[in-house]
């Protein structure tokens, strides 16, 4: 059984190769939980619906969580509500992206 923070830490190893930041600091991971049997659940979004890496990013998230000991399965819930925007990202991401 892992906490939300521990799951977020594992997912933070997944980096978006287009912007160079991890999914957690981008604010793309909305929620994560895990039951006693080792079944994990991740609620996430993407910066745009038309992202060509849709499947790949979800697969990376799944693999990152499955690397944790005793995790048996991962369910990814890709949602579009609330819609992601830059205010959801960490402060250092906002600052880095806003530099011209």
């Amino acid at each position: 059984m892992y906490s939300k923070e521990e799951l977020f830490l594992a997912i933070s190893t997944v980096i978006d190769p287009e912007v160079g930041f991890n999914l957690v600091e981008m604010g793309l991971i909305y929620d994560a939980s895990c039951d006693v049997d080792g079944n994990a659940y991740v609620k996430m979004t993407l910066s745009t619906k038309a992202c060509p890496m849709h499947q790949l990013i979800q697969q990376w998230v799944k693999e990152a969580v499955l690397k944790m000991a005793n995790i048996k399965s991962v369910e990814i819930d890709l949602v579009w509500e609330p819609e992601w925007n830059i205010t959801m990202a960490d402060e250092h991401v906002k600052q880095a992206l806003s530099r011209g």
């Binding site: 060509p52 890709l78 992601w84």
Partner: protein
């Protein structure tokens, strides 16, 4: 859960020939300019018509078709009807284009053959897109734009073949009458509306823009689409009101499109001015210059203004929109194929690392200078300026070819 296409990335070997050939045709277009002299600067001069086909079919269409192979499943959210059909498109389009160019510059009998080969390539493309669109249940603005643009391409190519048959003397048709319909269907109807539709996906995706209204783009697509219909109708029913309302509507539609682009630009979170952003900035500067020159042409009627407007639209707007996106699309495809399986196992490059800084900057700088010099050369009908501009463009296109090969072979 959002439905996701199972065919996001077609095999890279299927798409790479489009980009390689497209870049080589871009280079050939720049070389071709050295053979154009000031006395050729008339809209219907065969050397100019040959150049337009070399550039638009060989470079712009070839690259757009390659990009669409990857983008269609992404924007339509369904897999291709038959992605393997793209293996047939690039050889046919390449061969047909070369035959047509030779047909225009001195061997008119090649024109119908080249025209038929291009027609087959385009029909395969259009039919594949139509059959892919058929799988969609709910249409959004991007999908509508792709449907509209491909319908215009379908009719534009048929009109083009009729003209090619007429030009080579096989049938009797009034080529001048059909010309503006063909031009509007293919250039404004297909290329411009495709660029407009994809803007809604690509610009916010790369700029991380949110919270802008889609309404201006909807209006712009509607106006430009109506403009195409009016101008085509004027090819068959020569009423000046039809023709001129079409021109005015097209210019207004493009102005609204520019306003829409500006709103996306203002709402972007990612302010980085990379080669992509710079290329798009120059392309939109060219679009504005082209629209101003077109307006001046309507006021003063000088053909140099029309040619210069067309030049800025083609080598300024189209070329830089396309090259800018190539710097995003090729690294993604190469990364997806070569590096995505290594994620989590070893250090992989970021997409931006795969863009060659020096050659891409050289392409942009020399290209922008060359485009402006030739626009001035056309206005002044100055022989030396044409060659000077062509020299800049030659360096630019060589740098682009180098960039394309660098990105494709990135290891």
């Amino acid at each position: 859960m959002f439905p996701i296409s199972q065919d996001f990335a077609p095999p890279f070997k299927l798409i790479s020939p489009f980009f390689i050939l497209g870049s080589l045709f871009y280079l050939l277009s720049a070389i071709y300019i050295f053979f154009i002299s000031a006395e050729n600067l008339f809209v219907l001069d065969t050397k100019i018509v040959g150049f337009v086909h070399l550039f638009l079919l060989g470079f712009i269409m070839m690259t757009i078709f390659g990009a669409m192979a990857q983008l269609v499943p992404v924007v339509l959210e369904v897999g291709h009807f038959g992605v393997e059909l793209f293996y047939a498109i690039w050889p046919l389009l390449g061969i047909g284009t070369i035959m047509m160019v030779f047909g225009f510059v001195g061997y008119p009998m090649l024109l119908p053959f080249g025209g038929v080969v291009v027609l087959i390539a385009m029909m395969i493309f259009v039919m594949e897109i139509f059959l892919t669109i058929k799988k969609i249940k709910k249409f959004n603005l991007v999908m509508k734009s792709i449907l509209i643009s491909n319908t215009f391409l379908f009719f534009g190519v048929i009109l083009g073949l009729v003209m090619a048959l007429g030009y080579s003397g096989l049938i009797t048709v009034d080529i001048n009458m059909l010309l503006r319909g063909h031009l509007f269907l293919v250039i404004i109807g297909y290329i411009v509306i495709t660029i407009m539709g994809l803007s809604l996906v690509l610009l916010p995706m790369f700029g991380l823009s949110h919270g802008f209204s889609h309404k201006p783009l909807e209006r712009a697509v509607l106006m430009v689409g109506t403009a195409v219909i009016l101008v085509v109708a004027s090819s068959f029913y020569p009423l000046p009101i039809l023709e001129y309302s079409g021109y005015v509507l097209a210019i207004l539609g493009l102005c609204i499109y520019f306003y829409f682009i500006n709103t996306i630009y203002k709402t972007r979170a990612r302010k980085e001015i990379d080669i992509y952003a710079k290329s798009l900035m120059f392309s939109y500067f060219s679009l504005i210059a082209s629209l101003i020159l077109a307006l001046l042409y309507f006021l003063f009627g000088a053909q140099e203004l029309l040619l210069s407007s067309g030049w800025m639209m083609f080598f300024g707007f189209f070329a830089f929109v396309v090259t800018g996106h190539v710097y995003k699309i090729i690294p993604f495809l190469v990364w997806f194929e070569r590096f995505s399986p290594l994620v989590g196992k070893q250090r992989v490059p970021m997409l931006a690392d795969m863009v060659p800084k020096k050659s891409s900057s050289a392409q942009l700088l020399f290209g922008a200078i060359g485009v402006v010099i030739i626009a001035v050369a056309i206005l002044l009908q100055d022989e030396k300026l044409i060659k000077a501009g062509a020299s800049f463009l030659l360096i630019s296109t060589l740098a682009f070819v180098k960039s394309v090969f660098f990105m494709i072979n990135y290891k």
